[in-house]
Amino acid sequence: MAELVGVFAASHAPLIVRGWEGLTPESRQRVTDAFAGLGKRIKAARPDVLIVVSPDHWVNFFLDNLPSICVGVGETHAGPPEPWLGAFPHRQVAGHAPLAQHLVEHAHTHGFEPSLAYQLKLDHGFCIPLWKAALDPLPAIVPVVINTVEPPFPAPQRCLDFGACIAGAVRSFPGALRVGVLGSGGLSHSIGEATMGAIDEAFDREFVRLLASGTRAAMLEFLEQRLEAAGNGTAEIRNWLTAHGAAGERGFELIHYSAMPEIYVGHGFAAWRV
């Protein structure tokens, strides 16, 4: 059977790529150190496959058809289409079709009905953490899109449960695979709305405190009260919840957090002991 060898989460702020030249040396160092901490932990886990949970920022899906959850089941995935990510070193990223298909089938018998895609483009949400964590060689990627871009979004509780579903799929996969899970996005940020640029540091710090030592009930109550007002981009913390669920909602380790208005996000990185 496959083994879940690590669970991780990371921010994916575009400005660390397309605005890099404008950052101060101190900001650059903070970003570099955070990704190095993430990369060190992922490499130590030695995953053959990474299940990466991220939003689709309008590169695969539009208002014609907008899945809440979609699993990329292709043998390969396309690299990022954003022109400013031209330096990303992979135009094609290897997938793991058998594990992806197994995840879809497992989900359908465990309370979830994700859609599937044989061809996915991996946008910056997927590629920035993989790139900046310096994973070389890159493990095979099973991309999981959770819609956190255009409402309605999956409920936080469902994201925790879907994470547990992912872990169950990994553990029931009939193959000697080492599998990691990486949730991409967050923490608080606000894009294209009146509060653009604002970071709710108090929200972020309470969120990570609850990941580290809170109960599920306390987390859900907190999110019910605070999530919507913390900025539209903060919806991406659903991917952290999915990671948390995959880890059995325990073992959280904060690698790095800093409010970084210069890149518009609460910049967060985490790993879970599994």
């Binding site: 539009f62 255009e150 294209g192 709305e193 009146a194 640029g197």
Partner: protein, 91 residues
């Protein structure tokens, strides 16, 4: 509620060639999208606050970058629109 065609315009401009055509001849590109007159006028006027409630905020921000508005100007206009960004150009 989103305006489908406004959003479709913004979505389509992610293709670099389409964005270049738009910058070169905005009216010709707009002719291909059945926008209501008030909405088309808001697009032509770069009226951020009027467009904000009718499309996704990520697409909105992307559009104005493609259309050549500076980030500082976009921030000024979106912040001037109020807590949710906005008044409507529906009509």
């Amino acid at each position: 509620m989103r305006d489908y065609w406004l959003s479709k315009l913004f979505f389509d401009l992610q293709i670099p060639a389409a964005a270049a055509e738009y910058r070169a001849n905005r009216a010709a590109v707009l002719d291909r999208y059945p926008l209501k007159p008030a909405l088309r006028a808001a697009v032509q006027a770069d009226d951020v606050a009027a467009l904000a409630p009718l499309t996704n905020p990520y697409l909105l921000r992307f559009y104005f970058l493609v259309a050549g508005m500076s980030e500082a100007e976009f921030l000024k206009r979106i912040r001037a629109g109020g807590p949710r960004g906005a008044r409507s150009a529906q009509g």
